[in-house]
């Protein structure tokens, strides 16, 4: 009897092929896999018969280029795995909040997004299930003592950014602890996908995190293509990859500009602010929307490129590359800038590993994690080897990862534009397979974006799970602040630039 299943990115499997393990066997298998360097990419539940929950663990085995999938069944109480596997701590809290289950022995058991439980019954924290919870209403970690004070910021911040609440425990100017409470952006998206795909589902996927529209919509398309066994044609895949790299470029360039602004170095801040818009405008040339709305469709892409548009994009890219390099190198050649970034907001490789961090922040701490390399799909070449890593995990390294990735992405965009496969860009879709599960992972600009779709007997979604890279990385930001000055917070925050709504969903 097989205990667990291995599958590849963009694969589908009938749920009957996946055994429901005893929780104890599930636990042993999961921890064993973790010892063998697998890490949690998604961990979620769905309601099963008689008040029970089924839990699915999707573990990435990066160097084997596949995923281990485990499934178990639990009742209203079960033992927490977080003490043995800290990567799970938010995933377990999420499950408790969604289904009103108590997870015994969880060391940091608090609500995540402050919504009512999705199924009738108790609330995990004994709150009135008929009342909508108050966001941020929980016990915050506190430090007491002489000259110790608390700084509370948000949810409404000073700039044009999304809302979140931050509590700093400080001794003088030094931050001893930062706790981040999110949920203000919670829009209840995952339940909206149930019973789908609906006509609005694609548009809702596009706003999971607006700056990662291509990342999320690519995953959604992959899920539908896997479940309907009707893959996108090569040309469609190439245009998606092109859009994904343009998304990465716009955001990375914007982040370098924002960091520059926070350091008070205005030339790069103003140049990059504009150049970011130029990259968004390239996406708009392809599909009419600066954020790539409507570009990625199940089965391919909604907009094709003709030769004249392609040449025009190549010409503009050549000019933009010179301007981007000019603006960015100025920043990295200024000693006063480097002095401000150096050694600030350290996240060690061990911490990044323990919390299961992904993307830019993980690579800055020395973890080789890039799903374009480990789980290649679509137009990414089999031998994708442009993985960028740094070692110390400070603000400088997180910024430098962006600089190096910007240059890589520019050459990748050029390569994709010059070598567009011929043929159709969009293929018709078939209905979805019933009682099946599909997995899709895309390396969004922040890090790996994970979607898992499960269908019912009629081929409609009965659970659709989204894991934005921000979900894994917000803890990294909290850790980065330890022992730093509160004035370093803006720099640390920008160097992570995490999504609030991607976390809150």
């Amino acid at each position: 009897m097989k205990k667990s299943t291995l599958l590849k990115n963009g694969a589908m499997l009938p749920l009957d092929d996946l055994d429901i393990l005893d929780y104890s066997v599930f636990t042993t298998e999961l921890l064993q896999a973790k010892r063998e360097n697998a890490r949690i990419s998604a961990y979620f539940a769905r309601p099963a018969e008689e008040d029970r929950l089924e839990i699915f663990a999707l573990m990435s085995r990066d160097w084997q280029e596949d995923f281990l999938l485990l499934r178990t069944s639990v009742g209203r109480h079960f033992k927490s795995l977080t003490p043995d596997c800290p990567q799970l701590h938010l995933f377990e809290r999420e499950i408790a909040e969604q289904y009103g289950v108590k997870i015994e022995g969880h060391p940091w058991f608090k609500p995540v997004r402050f919504h009512q439980p999705w199924r009738a019954g108790e609330d995990a924290w004994g709150r009135d299930p008929a009342q909508h919870p108050v966001p941020g209403d929980m016990e915050f970690y506190r430090v007491d003592g002489e000259e110790v004070h608390e700084v509370a910021v948000g949810p409404v911040h000073a700039g044009i950014i999304e809302p979140g609440h931050f509590r700093f425990q400080c001794h003088g100017e030094e931050v001893m602890s930062l706790e981040i409470s999110l949920g203000f952006q919670h829009r209840g998206l995952e339940p909206l996908f149930v019973g789908g795909p609906h006509p609005a589902t694609l548009h809702q996927v596009e706003v999971l995190a607006g700056d990662t529209t291509i990342g999320h919509s690519s995953n959604y398309a992959l899920i539908l293509e896997a479940l309907s066994a009707s893959p996108a044609p090569p040309r469609g895949k190439a245009i998606r990859a092109l859009a994904l790299e343009l998304e990465r470029l716009a955001n990375h360039v914007g982040d370098v500009g924002a960091l520059s602004g926070d350091v008070g170095y205005l030339p790069t801040a103003s140049f990059c602010g504009r150049i970011r818009g130029d990259y968004l405008n390239l996406t708009a040339e392809i599909c009419g929307s600066r954020f790539g709305r409507g570009l990625v469709l199940p089965g391919g892409v909604g907009f094709d490129l003709d030769d004249s548009l392609r040449n025009q994009l190549l010409k503009r890219l050549a000019v933009m590359e010179r301007e981007t390099r000019g603006a960015i190198e100025l920043f990295y050649e200024s000693p006063s800038v480097l002095a401000r970034l150096d050694g600030i907001g350290l996240v060690s490789a061990d911490i990044a590993e323990a919390f299961g961090m992904v993307g830019v922040a993980a690579r800055a701490s020395g973890l080789p994690r890039d799903s374009r390399m480990h789980h290649p799909i679509g137009a990414y070449p089999r031998e994708y080897d442009q993985l960028v890593i740094e070692e110390r995990g400070d603000v400088y390294d997180r910024a430098n990862i962006r600089r190096r990735e910007i240059y890589n992405s520019i050459s990748l965009v050029r390569h994709l534009l010059r070598n567009l496969p011929t043929g159709e860009a969009l293929m018709p879709q078939r209905p979805l397979a019933p009682d099946s599960l599909a997995v899709a992972i895309t390396e969004g600009w922040r890090g790996e974006v994970v979607h898992v779709g499960l269908t019912d007997s009629a081929g409609r979604f009965n659970r659709y799970k989204v894991v934005d890279p921000s979900f894994r990385n917000w803890n990294g930001l909290a850790i980065a602040l330890r022992g730093e000055q509160i004035s370093d917070f803006p720099l640390c925050n920008k160097s992570f630039n995490l999504s609030y709504c991607g976390f809150d969903l």
Partner: protein, 250 residues
């Protein structure tokens, strides 16, 4: 320092010429709709069911598109007979909710503030932005207004850090249950008289999140809205155009 100067010269002067010159938008940009009721087939109601957001209505048998509900979807299949197309006209903002109803005659562009309000805000408007569930696309394209291309400051408009410094509030997002009280408290902290601006399909009517139990479907009756800026997200020029019309600068 010596490297900054040649780089500054090479990057050049980039402030846009708007509003003296019309901006050049991408060919595939989807802006104000062109509605041709002559193409309507009698008895056909396909457009009513084709839009998942209910943006189309038939008024006296003629189609009417609600720009506040419309996401300007790329694959808009709303009329199989081609009665509704999208032009590249970025001018969408309106002062009233009804003004967003576009018919064959177009929609009602935003008019200027009158009397005392225009005297107060016409040459200097400070706005506090509140993201109430926005996906960060609206927010990103509002931030862009501060970059040197759009250079909002030259029109006397500025986003400020505190509601106490603000003349109005600009809201994005569908107003999640979890942001509702923070939004109302921020509004209350702005000294009167004050303006309310709803930016993006979410803030106007819930956008793609419409009818999620966790959102309020936009500002609705929570606050009196003075300017609606449609789009998902609105193009920076759509927002800039709306703001300048509100202040009587266009």
């Amino acid at each position: 320092m010596l490297k900054i100067i040649p780089e500054r010269l090479r990057q050049g002067h980039r402030t846009g010429k708007f509003p003296k010159e019309e901006p050049v938008l991408p060919e595939r940009f989807r802006g104000a709709p062109l509605i041709d009721p002559n193409r309507c087939q009698s008895g056909c109601t396909e457009c009513l069911s084709a839009c998942p957001y209910g943006a189309v209505e038939l008024k006296g048998g003629k189609p009417q598109l609600d720009l506040g509900r419309c996401l300007f979807c790329a694959d808009c299949p709303v009329c199989p007979h081609g009665a509704i197309h999208f032009s590249s006209d970025y001018r969408l903002a309106s002062r009233t909710r009804e003004g967003l109803l576009a018919s064959a005659e177009g929609h009602q562009l935003a008019s200027a503030l009158d009397g005392q309000m225009k005297r107060l805000f016409g040459r200097s408007l400070k706005l506090r932005q509140v993201c109430a569930g926005g996906c960060n696309a609206c927010e990103a394209d509002l931030n862009v207004l501060g970059t040197l291309v759009y250079d909002l400051g030259r029109f006397g408009i500025q986003f400020v850090a505190s509601p106490r410094h603000a003349d109005g509030i600009l809201i994005t997002g569908p107003v999640t249950k979890n942001m509702r009280s923070a939004l109302l408290e921020t509004y209350a902290a702005i000294p009167a008289p004050k303006l309310v601006i709803a930016s993006g399909a979410c803030a106007i009517g819930g956008g793609p999140l419409c009818d999620s139990p966790e959102v309020n479907n936009g500002i609705g009756d929570l606050l009196p809205v003075d300017l609606y800026i449609p789009g998902c997200p609105p193009h920076p020029y759509t927002a800039l155009d709306g703001l300048l019309r509100l202040l009587g600068q266009l």
